[in-house]
């Protein structure tokens, strides 16, 4: 996948999250994950990626003051 098309996916996810708001964005992301996992057709690899996603759960801190 080119950098360009990965960016398009990134944008689509960001816009999806915004569109469904805090109430439904989790469900939206869960659906995306299930669809991608189904497409991947490899449970073992899916589990590795789920594991990978749980590393370094660090976000940007709020700027102080």
């Amino acid at each position: 996948m080119s950098e360009m098309s990965m960016e398009t996916v990134y944008t689509a996810l960001a816009e999806g999250i915004d569109r469904h708001g805090p109430e439904k964005s989790d469900m939206f992301l869960a659906k995306v994950c299930l669809l991608l996992a189904e497409e991947l057709g490899n449970a073992e690899r899916s589990l590795e990626l789920i594991e990978a996603a749980q590393m370094n759960m660090k976000e940007m801190r709020q700027p102080a003051g």
Binding site: D26, M27, A30, K31, L34, L35, E38
Partner: protein, 548 residues
């Protein structure tokens, strides 16, 4: 509970018998086996012992059967058990077999599932029948035999045991008395008094999720299926199950919302309203009458040990399993069959005491497997955490237009646990086709044979399925095994057992008395088979070796 003005024993379709207390004169004060609790599991155990000629005393505090339809989904494994006990005919005549089910999300069908079935099986995967009939038909068998000393209106109020036996204090309307017994089977249900008397506690999880089960009578001739409704328009946010039973009885099963307390949910007016909503959702407009309702929770609880010396816990006294996946009764029936043959074998002197330890091992593992499987169903039907709830919603909404996602809503009903890691199960010594379900520890698959089925020919002891010509069969020097000779060129003989069992000429399968597969050999020899039977009769340890 019953509608206002109706007593516990008034029913739209079932006449509860009334049993009197035993006559004191001539009551035996000792027995080889005492079974406390004549629910379905106690009765199954008593009938299994009777099959081997073992007498028992069976007591129950009540003067009739359990009230209400309770467990209604009876699996093939239970029908096989009824057949072994020579009780299957009335069940077949009354039950409604069903093979399929449909699941809806917000009124739209997202799944139609078919339970795996085959013409090679004598029984269908699932039948619906009310528990009173189950108890009635088992009891009819008990009434027919002199081997079971049935005492109604008799409560066990005290129990103690030493190395030689068990002493019970029984109370009936004529007062208290003691009996001595070599063995005790505690089949006294979810609130087991014996558990309490022995200072034992169930361990595991109690869950908040509460469900109402309500039975109505309604004449509505549609195909027998199971319906699951997620978030129906008439009852937004709830999960509902609909089952059809004999006598035009319908079971409606729904979750109580978090903000409703149990007393409120159990109020008759609320039950009627919920039922009407569900029927409207299904498009049923026939008149109906309310029969009975109750609550149920999805607990996963079990005893740490099912065997305590001479006392064995069977059925709900040993384990409480969630309603989803219909394993409560079906799993308990396999407890009763399992302890029944093993205890008979030990009492008859055919097997060592260690065989009884395998009851504990096999049936505890089976319960843990039920927990594991029903946990998945429960978390889908009524998710307990935010994570499970989000994933459930994601799957349901995907299922509206992606078939793969509807698989999450498949109830994966009861199939018997495989005793793969039981001490009684023999390890394969050669490699077999992975495709066969006939693996050591599994329930023996059936096959059409002549005008009947293979398993019809099993006796009450071990069965050897000998394919083609098996060597050294003359070395099998015991009456405890029946040999069934099977052809290897099935097509010619119209018996596909060899294909189902992946068996070539000279192969053999050893089935236990409960028709689970103990061991199998591709190049079998009578002497190996005989050694294996002796290994099993010693509880899974090679004779001569100290057992732990």
């Amino acid at each position: 509970m019953k509608p206002a003005g109706k007593s516990r024993w008034e029913s739209l379709y079932f006449t509860y018998p009334k049993f009197s207390a035993p006559n004191r004169a001539g009551l035996a004060k000792s027995s080889s086996v005492t079974i406390v609790g004549a629910g379905p599991i106690g009765m199954i155990a008593a009938l299994t012992l009777a099959r081997y000629g073992i007498a028992c005393t069976l007591i129950d505090a009540k003067d009739s059967f359990n009230d209400g339809s309770r467990a209604i989904c009876v699996a093939r494994s239970s029908f096989n058990a009824f057949q072994m006990l020579d009780r299957v005919e009335p069940f077949l005549a009354k039950s409604l077999p069903y093979l399929s089910g449909r699941t809806f999300f917000r009124g739209q069908q997202i799944l139609e599932f078919f339970m795996p079935d085959s013409a090679e099986e004598r029984y269908r995967p699932m039948y619906n029948i009310e528990q009173q009939y189950i108890e009635q038909y088992l009891y009819d068998g008990i009434a027919e035999t002199d081997l079971i000393d049935m005492r109604w209106q008799t409560e066990c109020i005290h129990v103690s045991q030493n190395a030689d036996g068990v002493t019970l204090t029984l109370r009936d309307p004529n007062g208290d008395y003691q009996i001595h017994s070599d063995w005790l089977l505690a089949a006294d249900g979810a609130r087991s008094a014996i558990r309490g008397m022995m200072g034992l506690r169930l361990q595991g999880q109690n869950f908040e999720g509460r469900y109402v089960i309500a039975d109505i009578q309604m004449h509505n001739p549609v195909k027998v299926e199971r319906f699951a409704l997620f978030d129906p328009d008439q009852r937004p946010g709830s999960t509902v199950l609909v089952h059809q039973q004999p006598d035009n009885i319908w079971r409606i099963d729904y979750q109580i919302s978090d903000d409703m307390d149990e007393t409120e949910a159990m109020d008759e007016a609320n039950i009627r309203q919920a039922v009407s909503q569900v029927l409207a959702e299904c498009g049923y407009d026939a008149p109906w009458e309310l029969e009975w309702w109750s609550t149920y929770s999805a607990n996963t609880l079990l005893l740490e040990r099912y065997r305590h010396g001479r006392v064995f816990f069977i059925g709900d006294s040993a384990h409480i399993v969630p309603i989803f996946g219909v394993r409560g009764l079906n799993n308990g029936i396999l407890d009763g069959i399992n302890i029944g043959w093993k205890l008979a074998y030990v009492i008859k002197g055919w097997a060592r005491d260690a065989l009884l330890d395998s009851y504990d091992h096999e049936r505890r593992q089976a319960t843990l497997d039920v927990f594991d499987k029903s946990e998945k169903s429960t978390q889908f039907m009524t998710p307990r955490t935010r994570g499970y709830s989000i994933m459930r919603d994601a799957a349901l909404s995907l299922a509206l237009d992606h078939e793969f996602a509807s698989a999450f809503a498949n109830p994966r009903n009861m199939t018997p646990y495989e005793y793969t890691d039981s001490p009684l199960t023999g390890a394969d010594t050669t490699s077999w086709d992975d495709a066969t379900t006939a693996t050591p520890g599994a329930a023996a698959p059936n096959a059409i044979k002549g005008s009947g089925f293979l398993l019809d020919e099993c006796g009450m002891h071990f069965t050897l399925l000998a394919f083609g010509s098996v060597n050294g069969l003359e070395d099998i020097s015991t009456d405890l095994v029946k040999i069934i000779h099977l052809p290897v060129n099935g097509a010619a003989e119209a018996c596909h057992a060899a294909e189902i069992y992946d068996a070539k000429d000279g192969a053999a399968y050893l089935l236990r008395p409960d028709q689970f597969i103990a061991s199998r050999w591709q190049d079998a020899h009578g002497s190996t088979i005989m050694a294996d039977i002796n290994r099993i009769l010693s509880g899974g340890v090679t004779p001569g070796e100290p057992h732990v």
